[in-house]
Amino acid sequence: MIKIMKITIVALSLLLTACSMQAPPYEVSIKNVQNIKKAKVKQVKVGTITSNKQLDSISLRGSSMLSPVNKSYGAYLQKALEDELKLAKLLSPVSSTVITGEMLTNDIDVSGFSEGTGEASAKFVVTRDNKVIFDKTISAKHTFESSFIGAIAIPNAQASYVGLVQKLIENLFEDQVFISVLKG
């Protein structure tokens, strides 16, 4: 009886969680858009932001979460940055000022039963007329409510990824050196 119950619980748990899932689509941070608008920087182009295969799969209690953008979290960050600059009317595909980058860390820890954490960092490089004018690593940390129950903890962790990327871009837009080179 106990064995059947255990097997059933495990089987149902598997039904309710997935082997692999996608991170949510990026949600533009209105705060980030307003902040970059207020900074009165010049229009920029966003180039490629890369990430390696190891960073492109985030493990959430055994389930892997992949990026919905070309299965690359670098591409996810690139699109997020483009979306925010576009809404601020600061994105130009022909600008000679180009932002590129490389994700260095990208992880969500949902092993805790009451709180989960997310950490991400990326090296951002700004070039103007092919000359590097900014080269800096920007990091972000994010916490969210978690649970002992996987069916609650995993969706919460999945949803938290957007907030982590919003925070990473917020930290980039708050970097005074970054702002000053975009003004120049």
């Binding site: 059947i4 748990s13 689509p25 209105i30 809404l87 009317k89 969706p155």
Partner: protein, 194 residues
């Protein structure tokens, strides 16, 4: 043995159910594009603090519920729709703040009202297979007069094979359809708004 199996399944479902699972409504934004004719006007939108904090719980599958924040989750896409058509967009925290409205030369303020429903055809998985959004958007001018009003109702659907990668999929699909329709209505009826 069949009785034992049935009991085991019921126990397992009971152990895993009775809770509200968090989902989000924010849609994929790939289809939301900037208008060819951006209106050189500043507009605002108003979502009260009470609405932004609101958590709504509706039905999921297997006896479970899902919970979400309809206004917080869709604020970004409302801002996107307005930014794609108007030169500048502000959050108007207080509709009576005439000084803020005047200072920023806000000509129109869009006010959303969102009603949602969800359900599932599955007894074993909690994510909703059907999600309905009933969105009413009112636009008032800087004097507070109602100048435009639109109601849009759309349904998003997702089956297990689709939502196993994204538990919020039916809700996101409903939100995508409803806000694409809003963008279309604003594009077509913008003359009425001027």
């Amino acid at each position: 043995m069949n009785i034992f199996k049935s009991l085991a399944i019921i126990t397992a479902i009971a152990a895993l159910s009775g809770c509200a699972h968090q989902i989000q409504l924010n849609p994929n934004t790939d289809s939301f594009v900037s208008s060819d004719k951006i209106i050189n006007t500043t507009v605002g939108y108003h979502i009260s603090d009470e609405d932004r904090k609101k958590i709504v719980t509706t039905d999921g599958g297997g006896g479970d519920d899902v919970s979400y924040s309809p206004y917080k989750d869709t604020e970004s896409i409302l801002f996107t729709v307005l930014s794609n058509k108007f030169e500048d967009v502000y959050l108007v925290k207080n509709l009576d703040d005439n000084a803020f409205i005047k200072e920023n030369e806000i000509k129109l303020i869009f006010i959303p009202e969102i009603i949602t429903q969800s359900s599932s055809s599955s007894a074993f998985t909690w994510p909703p297979t059907k999600f309905v959004i009933d969105l009413t958007v009112k636009a008032v001018n800087s004097s507070g007069d109602l100048v435009w009003e639109k109601q849009i109702i759309k349904t998003g659907e997702a089956e297990y094979d689709e939502f196993k990668e994204d538990f919020s999929l039916s809700a996101r699909r409903a939100a995508e359809q409803v806000f694409l329709e809003l963008a279309k209505d604003i594009e077509q009826e913008v003359s009425l708004l001027n």
